[in-house]
Amino acid sequence: MTDLTSLTLAEARDHLKHRAISSVEITRAHLEAIERSGGLNTFVAITADKALQMAEASDARLARKEAGPLEGLPIGVKDLYATEGIHTQACSHILDGFKPGYESTVTANLWRDGAVMLGKLNMDEFAMGSSNETSYYGPVASPWLPPNWSRDRGRAAALSSDKRGLLTPGGSSGGSASAVAAHLCLAATASDTGGSIRQPAAFTGLVGVKPTYGRCSRYGMVAFASSLDQAGPLARTVRDAAIMLRSMAGPDAKDSTCSPAPVPDYEAAVGRSVKGMKIGVPKEYRLEGMSSEIDALWARGAKWLRAAGASVVDVSLPHTPYALPAYYIVAPAEASSNLARYDGVRYGLREPGADITELYEKTRAKGFGTEVRRRLMIGTYVLSAGYYDAYYVRAQKIRTLIKRDFERVFADGVDAILTPATPSAAFGIGEKGSDNPVEMYLNDVFTVTVNMAGLPGLVAPAGLSSDGLPLGLQLIGRPFDEETLFALGETIEQSAGRMTLPEPWWA
């Protein structure tokens, strides 16, 4: 075995089970790859000692034939998950030095199943962003080089602090996406409030799954917008994502919105026939001025599913255009409430003040970055006296209409909906949103509907743009029917062919 980082999660699992490799070996290989990858800025904390201890324990369990489903597999964790005694800051300055005294349920499930933690991954501050540029720890670079860039040019740009010119991996789970795409970990946890798993998956040629709301526990995840947030995996194959989700998901008494339903064996759905399935193609997702390349990709995806025996029908989701504006009321409103807890008293940063109000105001002004401050102010405004009904209640009514659109289509016998994942391929660091924040928000136009309706969504790599950059397609399913998405996702993955990542120019 020449390079242990080239294995998929499923391959590594099988090699470990047959003792062809050890967990310590594959963990070391990934730690070394991380050491060489500083220019990508994916990890904000590397837990090398803990990783090797966990790997040794896994090797002992493998020897005793007591292996869990993820035994010995090194993975990365988005900085938004509470990890006991380990850096957990959602990449915000206001959580400086915070080390939780408890473990999130999702990560606890992963360790229960034998996974090995390599460290914490960079992200947009409090998951607010679509390019990983709002992180207090600086931007993340995608391992995909901009068109016609040489390795040397890429390396020079990666060494600069602003990384200008390199491509963003998307956001908010940008560190997770870049690390998995660059083979720094076998898979990673991510989270998705408006597209934060699926847009980075599309930008970096990965598989990303946002499960049904309630499928994964939110206990110990730093809250952004509680009615929209969901945990999910980023992985290099559909099978790997299925293996990860099975371990991450499950009932949890600590989160009252977490579903008590048992978790199916998602991996068993990978490779399942899609023959006879009915796939809806919603006309409202064909945006005015949409690039012909995205349109062609979408049509190609429909053709692949038809070739595999599914039928493709036109459907209508008439309230689609209102999803993104409604999201930019609901999400900031919930954020302004959730982020009220950062007050400089109980944890994190504290700026002295003459009185308690000044302490709050100075701490929050210094601790929150520009985008977070902006969203908190919008949220505060739409919840303030006199505006609550006009903005917040109205947006929640529109959310009901968006969900009804989907229910109608599924009631007509549609098994899943096929859409593009993003309006374009990855853009450059520093390229978007500096004049008008709405420019950045438009990235989530195809993904945000799914959060608003609580449905599962999967993005699979579907091909390369004319510039040679990854593009993804999104599948939207019925509530708690992630299995259908895994079956269809694998069909797209197989039809598109495996994407080959560029050589590690950053090392």
């Binding site: 009615s227 579903s259 008590p260 930019y328 109980r346 709050y360 002004a365 109205r394 009901t400």
Partner: protein
């Protein structure tokens, strides 16, 4: 709808975020750009529509009304910037 400079200052105060006079005009522009973006919602007829409260219909789980944890004061205080005798320390709030 759009906000004026005084409203920006009032929102910042409500959100407990200190802003200085130099940054308020810029904040005003950005907030107004977002408010303009969400104006599209005015076109939707929401007459008789229930606002969403739970995105996935489910029964709220019940449990026994008993103490589930506690007696972890040191853990609760472990991350506090300033503590004394098992308490969080803040500037004087009562004169």
């Amino acid at each position: 709808m759009s906000v004026d400079l005084n409203t920006v200052r009032r929102i910042a105060r409500l959100a407990r975020i200190a802003v200085n006079d130099a940054e308020t005009p810029h904040l005003q522009d950005e907030i107004n750009a977002i408010l303009k973006f969400v104006e599209a919602l005015d076109a939707v007829d929401v007459e008789g529509v229930e606002p969403m409260t739970s995105v996935i219909p489910m029964q709220l789980p019940m449990r026994e009304d008993v103490v589930a944890d506690g007696n972890i004061a040191p853990l609760v205080l472990a991350n506090a910037p300033l503590t004394e005798d098992g308490f969080f320390v803040v500037p004087k709030v009562i004169e």
